[in-house]
């Protein structure tokens, strides 16, 4: 399962700090939405991505209020600037949801690196207005995104439109998992294997690690959730990265592993920062003996004798 942090802060510096912490905590990305201070989330995301490497930048935008081509151009430019890290999450506009499916179709048509004509009910591209005498009969969106395709998702009420077009979808935190399971199954039956691999994402509101683990495991079991966007304060990023994320990558874990993780997590409660990581790469590697250090005393744990080892290893074969 891939995890993205949705910062709960509003101003530039706090947003950058949240992204940096998410990076250090090993999360896959951050989700940027519009706030009163930073009301153009694509612009904010481009800035944050300039300071924080590697992270996927998911940006949620309404689709259907302004011209979809305008939205697409901005997204493509950001994607190019940040080297292919954009996930464009599109949401129907409240009160204009009927325009959303057509807007999606226009965006996807225009993403193809070819001239096109789009004649929809709400948008005609090119419009071929009589007054634009030097207009053309074909349109084209350039430049193209950084990678072969731009990652586009639907969100919230855009489920049917998005998933029926093979897109990934970001469900809301209060969407019923059983309902999501039914809908994904329905679409899977109708569309078939084209839906395989389409990201099944859901928002979650952070309370604590245990709750999130339970919620995500249940999401996976019910509707096959494989992405999570967690709205959480920056201070929670470390826990999400160190306690939640490892537990969600596999269903079957060896006995004792989770207990071992908890032990380690209490030794180093905060993840390494980007700077620390760079310094450590140059420093000598942690020796094997360090893993046997007792957490409380800092001394070597019991060194097993040869007999004890043999007894343990041969136990099963007796």
């Amino acid at each position: 399962m891939r995890l993205m942090l949705e910062p709960t802060c509003a101003d530039t510096d706090a947003l950058v700090e949240a992204a940096r912490t998410a990076w250090a905590a090993g999360l896959d990305g951050v989700m940027i939405t519009s706030t009163p201070a930073l009301s153009a989330p694509l612009v904010a995301a481009a800035y944050v991505a300039g300071l924080v490497p590697d992270l996927l930048m998911a940006v949620e935008l309404p689709l259907g209020d302004r011209h979809p081509i305008e939205v697409l151009e901005e997204a493509v430019v950001v994607d190019l600037a940040i080297a292919g890290r954009l996930v464009l999450v599109t949401r129907p506009v409240i009160g204009a949801a009927h325009m959303y499916p057509e807007a999606l179709d226009l965006v996807r048509t225009a993403l193809s690196p070819a001239p096109f004509r789009f004649d929809g009910s709400y948008w005609r591209v090119p419009a071929r207005l009589a007054q634009n005498i030097r207009g053309t009969t074909e349109a084209r969106v350039t430049p193209s995104p950084a990678r072969a395709r731009l990652e586009v998702w639907s969100a919230g009420p855009g489920f049917a439109a998005g998933v029926s077009r093979g897109l990934g979808h970001l469900a809301d935190a209060d969407d019923d998992p059983a309902e999501l399971a039914r809908e994904w199954t329905q679409h899977r039956m109708r569309i078939g294997p084209a839906l395989t691999g389409a990201p099944r994402a859901r928002r979650a509101l952070w309370t604590d690690a245990e709750q999130l683990i339970v919620s995500l495991r249940s999401g996976r079991a019910s509707f096959g959730q494989d992405w999570a966007v967690v709205a959480a304060p920056t201070t929670a990023a470390a826990e999400i990265g160190m306690r939640v994320r490892p537990r969600l990558q596999l269903n079957e874990l060896p006995a004792g592993l989770e207990a071992h993780w908890d032990l380690y997590a209490s030794w180093h409660p905060s993840p390494r920062t980007a700077d620390q990581s760079q310094r450590e790469e140059q420093a000598s590697h942690v020796g094997l003996k360090d893993t046997l250090l007792h957490p409380a005393t800092g001394e070597f744990a019991h060194q097993p004798t040869e007999d004890e080892v043999r007894a343990e290893v041969c136990e099963d074969s007796r």
Partner: protein
């Protein structure tokens, strides 16, 4: 007039134009263009230039960047002092509220380093892609300027911009309508590279006669610092070829477009070449100073074209900063936003 310190000249020099074009005669990997842009603005900042200027177009084969504010946001993260300007954003083609928000968000993340240059646009195909009538661009522009002011005043629920009372808007153009529009809104004025010194002087006079605003007046100028006449001549040939493609494809002359009227096209191209400040640092300084004498506050030196190699661009920036800027004599300090 005594030459001022290097810093003074630098404060009045912007550099452009960053377009992210990959043309038939000067192709470039698109991703590499965006990467290079960040390196270029860092060089500009290192040399203390005032600003980096981008331009906007859309839907053309060369991938000209349709959203300069968005790539400037990425570049803002790699700089701390350099300002980012647009010559020009095609305001009538945009949703005004979204536009205001994008500019304001860039203003916030850059901590007040945005200069918002706006113009009418002229390519029919661009308007048509958005279902807009080109002949309504004036009305749309005026309406948009009002909406931007409202958004920035918080009328749509947004916070205020970083720069107070607002980021500076520069109205691009040379027509009387453009000058009147700039004056009416008390915005700055950005004259294109196709105006000569006399026209600059007239535009400045006209602007000052219409408003008491002390907003700045800027002008674009194609610039290339090259003391060797042979190399200078080679640059001018390349410049000619660059504008030939652009004007041939897009500039409307009477009822026809550039390539359809080759003699008129050539006349206009010859004029563009004449106006370019190409030559020794002394020549370039003189040309720019004649613009300052005519009343301009900021010169956006266009050093960057599709055919300019990055290493050459960086040399030009260094020369501009070290050999030209110290000899510039702007009349007054650039007014704050």
């Amino acid at each position: 007039m005594l030459a001022k310190s290097p810093a003074a000249g630098l404060d009045h020099l912007g550099v452009g134009l960053f377009t992210m074009q990959s043309t038939a005669s000067a192709p470039a990997n698109p991703r590499s263009l965006y990467r290079r842009y960040v390196e270029d603005v860092q060089i500009l900042e290192r040399h203390g230039l005032h600003s980096a200027w981008s331009a906007e177009h859309r839907g053309w084969y060369d991938g000209w960047c349709p959203a300069p504010l968005h790539v400037q946001a990425y570049a803002a993260a790699h700089t701390t002092k350099l300002r980012f300007g647009t010559a020009i954003l095609l305001l009538p083609q945009h949703d005004p509220v979204a536009f205001a928000r994008a500019a304001m968000t860039l203003d916030h993340v850059s901590k007040g380093r945005v200069e918002v240059g706006v113009g009418l646009g002229y390519r029919d195909a661009e308007f048509d892609a958005f279902g807009i009538r080109r002949d309504e661009r004036g009305i749309l522009m005026d309406r948009a300027l009002k909406t931007i002011a409202a958004v920035w005043a918080g009328d749509h629920g947004d916070h205020q911009p970083f720069q107070q009372p607002a980021p500076r808007i520069w109205v691009g153009g040379m027509s009387d309508a453009a000058i009147r529009r700039a004056a009416r809104h008390r915005h700055g004025l950005m004259l294109p590279q196709t105006v000569d010194t006399r026209q600059v002087r007239d535009a400045v006079e006209r602007y000052r006669s219409l408003t008491t605003s002390d907003a700045p007046i800027g002008v674009l100028r194609d610039v290339w610092i090259e003391s060797n006449p042979k190399n200078a001549s080679r640059f001018l040939k390349r410049l000619h070829r660059h504008y030939q493609e652009e004007a041939g494809s897009w500039w409307v002359m009477g009822e026809r477009t550039g390539f359809e009227v080759p003699y008129e096209l050539e006349r206009q191209l010859a004029r563009v070449n004449e106006l370019a400040a190409v030559g020794s640092p002394g020549l370039v300084s003189d040309r720019l100073n004649s613009l300052f004498d005519a009343g301009v506050d900021l010169v956006v030196a266009r050093l960057n074209f599709d055919f300019v190699l990055q290493a050459d661009l960086h040399d030009q920036i260094a020369n501009l900063a070290e050999a030209v800027a110290p000899h510039l004599t702007p009349r007054r300090a650039l007014p704050c936003a």
